[in-house]
Symmetry: C2
Subunit: 146 residues, 2 copies
């Protein structure tokens, strides 16, 4: 099913791809006015920074936008299932909702490898535009292998 | 038992305290030459940034120092047991060893609430200078409650 926020996250993932980064993108939406208050994409290699994932970049920007580290009342849309670090960052920033696209069988910390949100006040929705989110990642890794 | 790196982490925790932040400090040591290549302390309120924990700040600085996001061959000393986000950041940055001081019964993701390093190539040592690391936190929370 088409989703405008996941579409935007995919556009960001493709920006990462154009820089030679693993293509993952994320946006944070304030639910009260449906505005995107934070955007991010994976820039680990470019920034030489292990913390620079799509989710953390989006959280950083959203916090700057609203001038508060508390992001309750906001939802994150991200093209790939968050890793442990990002799941923890989502908990720490008090986001209410997470929508992700592709599953990460190897490092996914929402439902694939770990269930980080169990017992937390966070609702998640998995597999949003999964085919498109997976395809961009598959293309990237296919090219690396060749 | 006294440890010079944990002593430095404690000095950083006290810097956080002086800024009204939850007092947690961390350093990253390159094991080959025993040099401290990254320092950090909790600055969440000051920076209005939910990612700004002692561990992530130290990882960010260490990555900048060596110009690489891969911190293998390095050890982290941190005054408080890492949370889920920071445990994930430690995994993502490929740190080999983690030494922590105080246990975090509520949010500790190394051994208290979760065992994030299980199955990972990370050795951890808990309770290094525990009494001193706990005391600075206890003082902070006692003052808040008063």
């Amino acid at each position: 099913m088409e989703n405008i926020y996941m579409r935007e996250a995919l556009t960001l993932a493709k920006k990462a791809l154009s820089m030679g980064e693993v293509p993952v993108g994320a946006v944070i939406v304030r639910k009260s006015d449906k505005k995107i208050i934070g955007k991010g994409y994976n820039r680990r290699e470019t920034e030489k920074n292990p913390l620079s994932h799509a989710e953390t970049e989006a959280i950083l920007q959203a916090s700057k936008t609203i001038g508060d580290w508390r992001l309750d009342g906001c939802a994150m849309y991200v093209t790939l299932e968050p890793c442990l670090m990002c799941a923890g960052a989502i908990i720490n920033s008090r986001l209410d909702e997470v929508y992700f696209g592709a599953f990460d069988k190897r490092a996914g910390a929402v439902c694939s490898q770990k269930e980080s949100f169990a017992g937390e006040n966070i609702t998640y929705y998995a597999g949003i535009m999964e085919d498109e989110c997976s395809a961009v990642l598959k293309d990237f890794f296919d090219k690396i292998r060749r």
